[in-house]
Structures are given as structure tokens and as C-alpha cells.
Subunit: 183 residues, 2 copies
DNA sequence: TTGTTCTTATGACCTACTCATAAATACGAT
DNA sequence: ATCGTATTTATGAGTAGGTCATAAGAACAA
């Protein structure tokens, strides 16, 4: 039988620590968990968590493409509308706190808007954004997006984001398409 | 007399290559520039460009905090206005290309707006964004930002971004302050 | 006490560098 | 053509932050 208790809870902490701050090296993690570096490495491999440099590189890669995430898509009708659940765990927050930055919310919304008009890359012409409530890291957000108008290559897309039935965020984008996906 | 011609143009190419793709290691750069790895390293140090791991880490850090960059601040009057030069080398671009995503431009603008009202973290209430021209990685942008109105804790800030006298981007933010800096 | 799981330590090897040094090469000016 | 300097390339030692294999020690359950 596996002793698990100490080990399991430590590994949970490990995941949380790295989740909160991917920029921790093994020796730092070892200090925090009060175990040896060797143990941290063992735990990491057991949990399939890569080394510092890989973690940092992965964060950097997603950054290079901006927020690039349409969440878990629950419903989707191309050129019409869609519903997604957003995971806010890796969104940018204000220093130390849990309040998610506007720019992260904007990024999500822009992405959803582009996805629904099937554009790998659309130029946003105009965006009108309304932040109704503070969003916190970990909030489970539901986004509804809808194409409101199409005129030539110009689309108007609305994105509305709720948490527990309460509207948190609203955006209207005017987009013009440069490039269609799989066409 | 410095021979410069070959060297200078190669170093320019180096900057461009790394600008386009910060995830290039010295050996890859050496292949592209058809010189030895040693030369690439020399060029990098002459140009003050850090090594692969630093570059990647920097990209990752800015991602973790969102765009967190007020550029080179040329002029600044707290609660009034400011002028910055933005470096677009690490901004998010569309897949493979050099066109900078709207969300990156938004991020810059949001930051500038917050900096001018001296807020570490301000809630954006409303944002109106107009993208006038495509911005490309490497473009040298000049941003002017200005507090237009203050009412209680509510600020209205305009941000205008130009490249070579041409306006590329315009944003109006309604912000409300949560927390003053060094107060 | 024994058997098993966990933890820690050790040493060899890896990548993608830096830094110092030296040799080879290229080119401009005389 | 040759000298002097700039530039390029190579070499070897050292670094951080790891991997991997191996083995010894500690903790615990039966």
C-alpha cells in the first residue's frame, strides 16, 4: 500500500506552487516544500511537470501568440454565434493579486470574436469595451459571442461574458477579414 | 577605420531575425547568417542582445504580467499627459507573420493610460478602441496619452499611437482607481 | 523484525550558453 | 605586394539548471 498521505499532499502543493508561479527553480521549490531537490525532481517527473526552462518556454510561446484560447467551446455556429467556458487560471493579473487585467479579458474577447468569423487573423477596426465587474483568477466564465452584422468583409461581433448569470464584461468588435481559415 | 559594411548589415539582420523570432538559438542564427556561432555570440554581445534563455524568460515574464511596458518615456506629467516610444519587438503577432495583434496594442494602451493616472491597478470601465492601420513587429511607435477628464475617482484618458506622423491607433479609456502608487 | 515505499545523495552527462585567449583571415592604406 | 588593424573563427574552461541511473538511508505498516 502506498503511504501517499505526505507525498500526495506535497505533490498537490507542488502543482499549486508551480501553477501560481511557473518561474520557480527546483531549489526554490525544495525550500518551500522543505524537502530535498532530489525529491522535487522525483515529484515533478511523477507528475509530468517539465523543468524550469521548459515551463518558461511554454509560457513564452503562448505569449508570442497572445491569448490564444477560445476556452471550452459549448456551442458554435460559424459566422453566427457560439458559447465558450473560459478558464482564467493563466490570465494576467495585477501584481500579486487575483484581479484579472483588462487586457487579458480583452484578449479573450478578441479571440472569440475572430473565431466566430472563421478568421485566422482579422483586423480589428473598432472595439467598444465595457467592464462591468472585476474578474478574479479562477472565475468560471461563460462567454457568448454573436455575429450581429455582416457587410462585405466587415463583421460586427458582440461578446458577452458572464459569471453565474451576472454579466461581467461586454465587447463589440468591428472586424475586417484578411484571411479565411482552411480555405 | 571600421570596415562595417558586412558586419553592420549582418548585425541588422541579426536584430531582425531575433525580432521576428526570439526562440532562435545561436546555432540556428549562425546557419541563417552563414557565419560561425562565435560570430553570432560576438554580434549579440556587441548589440546587447541576451542569450536564448534570457530572451525566452523575458517574453514569458511580460506575458505573465500582461504587457507591462510603458516604453521609453519621453515626457510625463502625472495626472496630465505623457509621450512614450514603444518597442514592438516582443508584441504578439499573428501566426508567423509580422502584423501585431490588436490585443497587444490594446495592452500597451491600457498600460499607458494607467501609468498616467498613477495607478498600479485601475479598473477599466469602458474602452473605445480604433485601429487605424496595421502595426508590424519592429515598428517604432510614438504614443501620446492624455488625461481628458477627472471626476471623483473616474478618469478619462486618451491614448494615441503614431508611426512616422501617421496615426495608427486611438483609444479612450474610462478608468476608476483602486489603488494609488507610492501613497 | 522484515518488506516495502520514500527520500536523499552521488556522479556522469546534457544544453546553451559566458569569458578569456589565441590563431586565422580579410581588407584598407601605403 | 605588404603592413597593420579589424574581423572572424576556434579552443578550452566554467556555469546554471537540469536528466538519468544507481545506491544508500529513513519511515512506516504488517
Amino acid at each position: 500500500m502506498v503511504r501517499t498521505e505526505k507525498k500526495r499532499s506535497r505533490q498537490e502543493r507542488l502543482v499549486r506552487e508551480i501553477g501560481k508561479n511557473p518561474f520557480l527553480k527546483d531549489d526554490e521549490l525544495a525550500k518551500r516544500l522543505k524537502v530535498s531537490v532530489a525529491t522535487v525532481r522525483l515529484d515533478r517527473t511523477e507528475l509530468g511537470i517539465g523543468e524550469y526552462r521548459e515551463r518558461v518556454r511554454d509560457v513564452a510561446k503562448t505569449k508570442a501568440n497572445g491569448v490564444n484560447d477560445c476556452g471550452e467551446v459549448l456551442d458554435f455556429n460559424m459566422y453566427h454565434d457560439g458559447i465558450s467556458v473560459l478558464n482564467t487560471l493563466d490570465a494576467a493579473v495585477f501584481d500579486g493579486g487575483t484581479v484579472i487585467k483588462g487586457q487579458a479579458m480583452y484578449g479573450y474577447a478578441e479571440n472569440l470574436a475572430m473565431s466566430v468569423i472563421n478568421a485566422r487573423s482579422a483586423l480589428v477596426r473598432v472595439a467598444n469595451i465595457k467592464y462591468l465587474k472585476e474578474v478574479h483568477r479562477g472565475d468560471r466564465l461563460v462567454a457568448k459571442y454573436e455575429v450581429m452584422r455582416i457587410k462585405n468583409n466587415e463583421y460586427v461581433v458582440w461578446v458577452r461574458i458572464k459569471k453565474d448569470m451576472t454579466e461581467m464584461f461586454r465587447a463589440k468588435f468591428n472586424l475586417s477579414v484578411m484571411d479565411e481559415r482552411d480555405s
